[in-house]
Point group: C2
Chain length 386, copies 2
């Protein structure tokens, strides 16, 4: 496996060295040059050269010498720190019922958050206006100037193209075909990265949620029609056209009942986004209402089938269930039992830890990834077979 | 993305340089040192050092100077070539009805092939004995001594663990729990790599079959109960426990009819491995027999559902249909039509080009991959995210 790592590229070595030093700086508190030499295995002149470059780029500063330290004789050693305040990141969720935003420094630690309700029938323009308000609020309250943003991540329902256009998004009015990345880009000078909401949530659970200890994860955003995001070997699997995990469409194939019909206790299907009506069906089922019980059974069976299809196709170590349906009673236990009974190698099944923060958190992580890739840019060594 | 590429490892640079020179040698005919310097971007002393090492390892030899070339004055430049005959590889299929073997040099070009029928009811011991016979025949006829083998790849039905044990393999008697890698290992001094048959076939179609131009492929081994192998970004996706793609188990979940019952025209299910009986049902359906037509419809509907589940989960660019059912009339057209109608981003669907050679060819490629990874061993630069 050699790929683009041709032997004679000195700039590659420089970038690797910068990345190694930056990683070490972020891991340590405020290391000295001697510390960094030990941590990185690089020579002192190399570390010095890299540090000078990072200081020039505004990413590293010399920290104040500690008072009363052990080194009393002579000049104290210079210490350095990564400037997390050198830039900021924004993570945004644009959902059917609410929009939310998180802001962080370059270390990804969240320093501000906000959200607003939005009517499910809102037009794309109304929804985007609400997004802009939330972002402005969050930045203002956190004291972060817009010019300090280095990247903005956005998570939203639908199949999202690489350029941030929503190829297909039936959950939100006016979403299909919307050049969402381009529309939001007008408000920022930094890159805006748009991602499917389940994909963003998968990234979030892996970063700081229920999937921290696993690199092979399927996150199921369980609603009436479930979507999923997958990490394979710790990396987001988007699929060739960004449509991986859209398992909710499976019932279309057999001309089977829609999720809205499945969960209805009458001859009329529920409204696709009517979560209170869904919750009521679950509540009635809990009280023993036979029609509601039958409806819930149909719904759970469909969900299990969809999750099983994902599990059989991908064979993850862990399945994380999120989305509003994950909060309902009687969803997790049957899922676990059925998967354990019938999957050839059943995965662990657990609930989302980040809950409603998952999508915005994942969007923030995607923004952070983008910035880190720029900071630490090293061409990956990919397999060059044949 | 930095991973294990710490800056101060000189042996890493040596290995990268060796790999770069070896790649260049294999691509060019019989290059001179000057050619290699130009092709690799490395300095002449570096190339010379690497070449000496490769000659010592038996992987490179100096080729005869060309006669009558343009360089008549003075000593002709030394030319070098990769010694494809420095070792050999074996690719083996162990299936329900037949066992097959392919042998190649280090360039992967096939120089010998053979196969034998095996009764589907054969015990594991009988089947392995048949495998040994086929391998001995193929090696003898190709004039390849067993000691020249550098790696053996094996493709077989079932979920295969990393150590070559069949975790679950209901298609072959005595297969579940069989330490297949260990059993075969006794016959060879080189590594034996065991892989699921659909996974091996996916690798084969990508190497020299219907998926040469795509890195995001699902290969469906279509039989009564379909299995699948997936390539994501050109790499085999085995899943966390080696069970990825075992989509045929999906019907277990809904307590739905078995494939053998689906395709039966009577109240009795077919025998799981009775391919002639299946072919007869398809033939009867073609003649208009209503029970056979209904059975075939049920079968196709199940296959489409399973393939759709894979497509929705993974979003591949291309689906390749192989296995015996791919040779039956009336399988490809409905698959294409249904996927195009209902998948959010329908993939291309095409037939296997390698047909019954797919599994053994893929096993050979996996053996070649293993040897190349040894030859070109460079620790991959993996993402070091938090």
């Amino acid at each position: 496996m050699v790929g683009r790592l041709t032997g004679g590229d000195p700039s590659l070595l420089r970038r690797i060295n910068s990345a190694v030093v930056l990683h070490a700086l972020r891991g340590a508190g405020s290391p000295t040059l001697t510390d960094l030499t030990r941590l990185t295995g690089l020579s002192r002149p190399t570390v010095e050269g890299v540090i000078e470059g990072l200081i020039e780029a505004g990413l590293v500063s010399e920290s104040e010498p500690e008072e009363g330290g052990a080194r009393r004789q002579g000049r104290p050693a210079r210490r350095f720190r990564f400037r997390v305040e050198a830039g900021h990141l924004l993570g945004v969720e644009i959902g059917p019922h609410r929009v939310a935003a998180l802001v962080s420094g370059l270390d990804g630690r969240i320093i501000g958050a906000g959200h607003r309700e939005v009517p499910e029938a809102a037009s794309a323009d109304e929804r985007l206006e609400r997004v802009r308000q939330v972002i402005a609020d969050v930045l203002r309250r956190a004291g972060v100037p817009r010019t300090s943003l280095r990247a903005v991540g956005v998570g939203t329902p639908g199949i999202v193209e690489a350029d941030g256009t929503v190829r297909l998004g039936t959950a939100l009015p006016g979403w299909t075909g919307l050049p969402l990345g381009q529309r939001l880009q007008r408000s920022f000078r930094c890159p805006v990265l748009v991602e499917n909401d389940a994909n963003a949530a998968a990234v979030a659970e892996h970063w700081k949620g229920a999937a921290k200890d696993s690199d092979d994860v399927v996150f199921v955003l369980a609603g009436l029609s479930p979507g999923a995001g997958s990490l394979i070997g710790g990396r987001l699997h988007r699929g060739f056209g960004g449509a991986a995990g859209e398992i909710g469409a499976l019932h279309l194939l057999g001309r089977e009942a829609t999720p809205e019909a499945l969960l209805s206790t009458t001859d009329e299907p529920l409204h696709p986004l009517d979560e209170p009506a869904v919750a009521q069906v679950f509540a009635l089922a809990k009280q023993g209402d036979p029609r509601a019980t039958a409806a819930v059974d149909r719904f759970i069976q469909r969900l299990v089938h969809n999750v099983a299809a994902l599990v059989l196709a991908l064979d993850p170590e862990l399945v994380v269930i999120g989305g509003w349906a994950s909060g309902l009673d009687g969803v997790l236990a049957p899922l676990r039992a059925e998967l354990a009974r019938y999957c050839l190698r059943p995965p662990r099944v657990t609930l989302s830890l980040l809950r409603e923060a998952a999508v915005a958190t994942g969007a923030l992580r995607l923004a952070l990834d983008h910035v880190e890739e720029e900071l630490f840019a090293v061409e990956g060594a990919t397999a060059a077979r044949r």
